[in-house]
Symmetry: C2
Subunit: 351 residues, 2 copies
């Protein structure tokens, strides 16, 4: 099987590259844009047209220098991003032209994946009947996988326990809470603003949602977690983590998934000064990185797709238009909390 690009010479690939490492909140100066011709795929390779890109808090970490769970994006490199796309040209029978795929596409209009990078890019075909393309970047994608393995493997929820999740209306939080409800837990979200809180309760079925912008989270936890907190799924860090630590139960589990409140700090990260609550309560705080569970993604996708289809679970994506040029500004919405649902950048029309 071998296919050519639709009109080879005419395709130009607009790319967003990391120009410099940000100090604090990223600015336009940290990015530069390039336009490259798209080459025909070499033997065994594919060219994917990006349809949607996933914008994630973790991206801020990838922009920093230094050792982390994956290497940083290099200066001058195309910014790393997961996405959904359509195979446009292929020398690879596993990925026929027209098939829909997800993987690490980068912030660019076209992603050319050589044969030896197929595995590393995580390129996988997706079934659009299991969920919409944007859901494949949300509940059926990395955020859903993060929610599933973080809650189920690290949190180990038991029916009747109280689960608190911050960033409740965000990509990971929405799935964490709904999964915990399905497993018989009392679920209390923490989110910013009345619209998100109302959606989380009315549409997703959380038992309550605390608006951290409206008043002290401590009061909300007292009201809505009368039996204390057994599992805290933390996406935000900072003050909220510290507050939840004062309300945990014996043998509580805190899943450290992220700390979005701290990612743009120029000061050192704010450590949880109430961490000795772990001692008093014989509790545990544990970090997780979703990539460790790659072998089990299919199982989780199947389960979550089942919940979507049965209507036990729903999702919300905040889709921003504007293509890759809009990437720098759109990314910032994550850190101000402006996004409502999983933040997705639309790069090209689906049809």
């Amino acid at each position: 099987m071998s296919t050519s690009l639709p009109s080879p010479g005419s395709l130009s690939n607009r790319q967003v590259r990391l120009a410099s490492r940000p100090v604090g909140t990223p600015t336009r100066d940290n990015w530069h844009f390039t336009d490259e011709a798209v080459a025909e795929p070499a033997a065994g390779g594919v060219v994917v047209q990006t349809l949607y890109l996933s914008l994630d808090p973790a991206m801020r970490g990838w922009m920093n220098e230094g050792k982390s769970y994956i290497p940083p994006v290099g200066i001058g490199e195309v910014m790393r991003a997961g996405g959904v796309g359509r195979v446009l040209a292929s020398q690879q029978p596993d990925f026929p032209v027209g098939s829909l795929v997800t993987g690490s596409l980068g912030v660019q209009q076209y992603c050319s994946v050589p044969a030896d990078q197929l595995r590393r890019s995580g390129l996988t075909r997706i079934d659009p009947r299991a969920g919409s393309l944007t859901q494949w970047l949300n509940v059926l994608g990395m955020p859903g996988m993060t929610a599933y393995f973080g809650l189920m493997d690290i949190g180990q929820p038991k029916a009747g326990e109280t689960v608190v999740v911050s960033g409740a209306a965000g990509a990971v939080g929405q799935t964490v809470g709904q999964l915990a409800k399905i497993h018989g837990c009392r679920v209390v979200g923490i989110a910013g603003g009345p619209a998100k809180c109302e959606w989380v309760v009315k549409e997703l079925g959380f038992d309550a949602c605390i608006d951290y912008k409206a008043g002290p989270v401590k009061d909300g936890l007292k009201t809505h977690c009368p039996q204390g907190v057994d599992i805290y799924f933390d996406n935000v860090g900072g003050e909220i983590l510290d507050t939840v630590l004062t309300r945990i139960n014996r043998k509580a589990r805190i899943i450290i998934c992220g700390a979005i409140s701290q990612y743009n700090n120029t000061e050192p990260v704010q450590g949880p000064k109430n961490y000795l609550s772990l001692l008093v309560n014989r509790a545990r705080m544990e970090g997780m990185v979703v990539f460790d569970y790659a072998d089990r993604y299919p199982q989780a996708v199947a389960e979550l797709a089942g919940h979507l289809q049965s209507g036990r679970m729903s999702s919300r994506e905040d889709v921003v238009s504007g293509g890759v040029d809009a990437f720098p500004d759109t990314l910032l919405k994550l850190f101000t909390g402006e996004n409502f649902g999983k933040l997705v950048l639309k790069v090209a029309d689906e049809a």
Copy 2:
């Protein structure tokens, strides 16, 4: 079986009571002394003469108001303390006169335990052939139990792993390190001053010991933990915890046993600002309270006594004379790090 006090009218019981709650480091004003006559034991009760008292970092926490893993010592109450003593008078066949016991005796010369308090005080007979009386407050007592269950149950050491323990020459640390060596680990202590570090390496067989007073702990960890840190048993908190967090391996376990550097803080506890290392490394930080393992103390005592008798393990107690009057000043040695080994206050002669 019923026995009377040796010379009832003549015995006066000197006691140290909590007069007020300290702010920061405890002062003499926080204590007051009382002298009470010792009454004959009531039906089912015993009177124990205190021989040695255990001085523990946890005592500082018991002096504070507020919910913790056990209630605080009330104002006016005899200060809580574990100890070893001899039964002086008894209406309780399980504890004949002359038998040696350990339990919560309090900072006083004589402890009268009514029948209904025997269980709560944890009064247990001890076998002086298994270890010296001061070892019964150290490796065979609470510190040993803390080391054993913290390392084995929470830490789950595997041969070849690197274990770091702070407060390495202290009561818990010395047993943690020796146990980890017995289980085939590389063991690196952290302690203050060359004498402690030398003892830990030469006498206890640790692979290395970092003198935190001599230079940056970070450099010591680089030198002595070339494979990173798999288990960190934390007795001190503060800067040292933060430094170790920068060197942990994937799936590392951090046992939060205490935070002696923080107990006299008037500022809030210093939270570990590097806690996101837990995320990057999929690591876990877990608190433990030794009392949870009470049912399994006999098993741990038997194992540790076996190690003492076979010479695979040794111990060091820092025995201070002066009786209960010396308690307020002696306690402070824990927080300055002046003690060398398990800190014990001698209250009466053994013979």
